[in-house]
Symmetry: C2
Subunit: 387 residues, 2 copies
C-alpha cells in the first residue's frame, strides 16, 4: 500500500470530429486534478500513453504537449507506448516514479484520436501493433490475428461461436449502464451471431470499435494520499510482461503467455489469488481476447472460459463480474486511453461510485491491458482502503 489513486477523469468515448486530441486529454487531465481536489502545482510528474499519434494526427512529443495543454509545463512529462497497452504502461511508469521516491504526486493519462483518418488508414496504423515485417506486410490485420487465436481455442477446447458472442452480449449490456460508453445499446445473442463476418469466426459484433477518447488518474505516495485524500484506492500490484511480437513464434495460440506471467507476478505482489478479485476490467479488443484473459487470470480453468461466460459468472450479477464498464467492446477502445480508462472504472467501483453498474461490496479489483496480439500485458490490482 505505497501508491494510491486519489483522482480520476475521463471523457465520453466515441467519434468526436469536433474535438481535438489535445482537447480530449486536457479534459480528462483537468477533471482528474479537480476530482483529486488538488492544485495543478502539486503535480510533480506526468506520464501519458498513446499508441500512434504520429500516424493518426502527425503529432509526436506527446508528454510535452499534454503538460503544456494541461497547464503543467515545466514538470517531467513522458509518453510511453506499447500499442493498445500504452495506457497501462503509463499507469505503471507513474507507479514506479512514486516508488522510486523521486515524486509523490504523478498524473498518468492515456489518449487516442482515431477517427480523423479513414478506417483503412486506421487499420494500417493499428497493424503496427503486430509484427510489420512478418504479419502486417502480408496483410494480417488485427481481426485476422485474433481470428487465428479464436479458431485455435475452438479446436483445442471446443469453444463455440456462441461463447464468443455471449461476451459481446454481456459487455454491451454493461455498456448501457455507462454514460461514458461509446455504445449504450444492448444486443441479443442472435444479433451478434448474425452480424457481418469480419475474419471468420469473428463477426462485426465480436470486434471493439475505433474510438476517440482520453482518461487520466492522479497517483500519490502513501504519505501524500493520507494527507490529500479521503477515499484513496490503493494499487497493491503493478506487473508487466512480454511475449513474442509475432503469433508464429509462440508455443500456443490459445493462451497468452505475457498475461500468464503478469498475472502470476501481480498475485504474488498483492499477496492474494484470483478468488479474491471482486471484479475485473480485461482487454476485450475482440470477444476471444476476453475469454483468453479470464483463463490467464485464473478466473476459470483453461479452456472453460466459454462455459464460465455462458453460465453468467462474468456478468454484472455473477460471481466474477468482468468489464462492468462495457469493456473495450461497448465502452470503446481509444487505444492509448484504454489502460487508464480501466483504472478509472476500478477506482469508481472501489469508491462505490459506479452508479447502475456498481458491484456491491467490491473490495478488490483487477485491470488487464494488452498490447497487440498479446506481446505486452500489464496488470494492476486495486484495493479499497481498509481500516
Amino acid at each position: 500500500m505505497e501508491v494510491a489513486v486519489i483522482g480520476v477523469g475521463i471523457t465520453r468515448f466515441g467519434e468526436f470530429w469536433e474535438k481535438s486530441y489535445r482537447e480530449l486529454i486536457t479534459h480528462a487531465g483537468v477533471n482528474a486534478i479537480k476530482d483529486a481536489k488538488i492544485e495543478g502545482d502539486e503535480v510533480q510528474s506526468l506520464y501519458v500513453g498513446s499508441m500512434t499519434p504520429g500516424v493518426f494526427i502527425q503529432q509526436e512529443h506527446i508528454g510535452a504537449l499534454v503538460a503544456d495543454n494541461v497547464g503543467l509545463s515545466g514538470i517531467p512529462a513522458t509518453r510511453v507506448e506499447a500499442a493498445c497497452a500504452s495506457g497501462g504502461l503509463a499507469l505503471r511508469q507513474a507507479y514506479l516514479a512514486i516508488k522510486s521516491g523521486t515524486a509523490d504526486v504523478v498524473v498518468a493519462g492515456g489518449v487516442e484520436k482515431m477517427t480523423d483518418v479513414s478506417t483503412e488508414h486506421a487499420t494500417v496504423a493499428l497493424a503496427g501493433a503486430g509484427d510489420q515485417e512478418w504479419e502486417a506486410f502480408h496483410g494480417a490485420t488485427f481481426p485476422a490475428l485474433y481470428a487465428l487465436m479464436a479458431r485455435r481455442h475452438m479446436i483445442e477446447y471446443g469453444t463455440k461461436e456462441e461463447d464468443l458472442a455471449q461476451v459481446a452480449v454481456k459487455n454491451h449490456s454493461n455498456g448501457t449502464l455507462n454514460p461514458n460508453a461509446q455504445f449504450q445499446k444492448a444486443f441479443t445473442l442472435e444479433q451478434v451471431m448474425n452480424s457481418t463476418p469480419v475474419a471468420d469466426p469473428l463477426k462485426l459484433l465480436d470486434c471493439s470499435p475505433i474510438t476517440d477518447g482520453a482518461a487520466a488518474v492522479i497517483l500519490a505516495s502513501k504519505e501524500k494520499a493520507k494527507k490529500l485524500c479521503e477515499n484513496p484506492v490503493w494499487i497493491t500490484a503493478s506487473s508487466q510482461a512480454t511475449d513474442t511480437l509475432a503469433l508464429h513464434d509462440r508455443k500456443s495460440l490459445s493462451q497468452t503467455r505475457a498475461s500468464t506471467i503478469a498475472a502470476k507476478n501481480a498475485y504474488e505482489s498483492a499477496k492474494l489469488g484470483p478468488n479474491k478479485i471482486d471484479f475485473a476490467e480485461v482487454h476485450d479488443c475482440f470477444t476471444i481476447a476476453e475469454l483468453m484473459a479470464i483463463e490467464s487470470l485464473g478466473f476459470c480453468e483453461l479452456g472453460k472460459s466459454g462455459k464460465f461466460t455462458q453460465d453468467g459468472e462474468t456478468s454484472l450479477k455473477g460471481s466474477k463480474p468482468v468489464n462492468t464498464s462495457g469493456g473495450l467492446k461497448a465502452k470503446g477502445h481509444p487505444v492509448g486511453a484504454t489502460g487508464i480508462a480501466q483504472a478509472v472504472e476500478a477506482t469508481l467501483q472501489l469508491r462505490g461510485e459506479a452508479g447502475k453498474r456498481q458491484v456491491e461490496g467490491a473490495h478488490t479489483g483487477l485491470t488487464h491491458n494488452v498490447g497487440g496480439s498479446g506481446a505486452t500485458s500489464v496488470i494492476h490490482i486495486f484495493q479499497k482502503e481498509v481500516d
Copy 2:
C-alpha cells in the same frame, strides 16, 4: 551512487539501407550485454527510446519488438517517446526502475531508422516534434524553428554566424576521431560559412543529418554493479523538465527554459556545479542549439557562448570539451538513439576508452538531450568510480 552503467553497445551511425530497424537495435543491445559480461537472463526490464517508427517504418509496439529480437521476451519492455529526447527518457526511466527497487539490472536502448523514407517524408515526420497545429501545419519545419532562435540570439547577444559555424568546425573535427560517426570529415570555417543556406541564418553545415543507428546501455543497482562490474560508471543525477511545445508561447526564444530547470535539478542532485563537469555531450541538432545548451548548463555566461566557442574552450583540448563524440552534427542524429549514444560516449570517456578523443583525467561528465525545439530536456551526470 545508486545506479551504475555496467555495459554499453552502439552501432555505427549512418545511412544503412541494408540494415533494418530491428537489426540495428539488436546489434546495440547484444553488444551492451556482452560488454557488461552478463547473461541475457540477468536483465529484468527494458526501456527503449524511439521517436516515430510508426511513420518511418510502420511499426509500433517497440518495447516488445526489441525484447523479442534481443532474446529477452518475457520481461517488461517499454518504449518511451519525447521526440529527439526519447533516448534520454529511456535512460531516465531505466534509472527510475532501479531506484524503485523493482529491478536491479535494466537495459536502456534507443533506435531510429530514418533513411528508408524520402527526405521530404522525414522532414514531415520530424515536424511532429514541434506543435503540429500551430507550427508544422503552417510550414515551420525544424530548421525554421531553430533559425528563429538563432536570429533572436544574434539580436540579443551579438552572436555571429561565424560563432555558429565554429560549433560545426569543432564537432566535425571531433567526429574524425570517432569511428562510429556518420561523418568523419573535417570542415573549415569558410566551408561551413559557404555551405548552402537552409533557413537563414542556418546553413547546411549548421544542421545535423538524418541518420540510422542504435545504442544501448546496461544499468545496475549499486549492489549488483559492485558484484558484476569492475569499472562501473555512476549516474549521480537524472533530471527532466518541459517547456511549452510551441515557440510562440515562450517568454524567451534565446534561452531554453526546460534545460535551465533540468540543469539546476541535476546539479543539486549530484551536489556539484558546472565547474566540476569535465566534458559534456550536448544536443547540437543545429549549431545554435549547442550555443544555447552551454549557456543553460552554466558553462559560460548567458550570451557569451559564441565567444566561449571561438576561444576554443569547448574544443577537445579546451577547458570544457563539448561533444567529443562529434555530437549530433558529425556523429549523426538517429533521433531515438541520440540520448543513449550520449550516455555511451560519457561511459567510454570515464572508463578511459575513448581512444583518440579521450579527455585526459575525466572524472565527471554530463549529457544533455533535447526534444523538439526545447520542450523536453533530459540531463544526466555520470561519475567515475571513486575509491
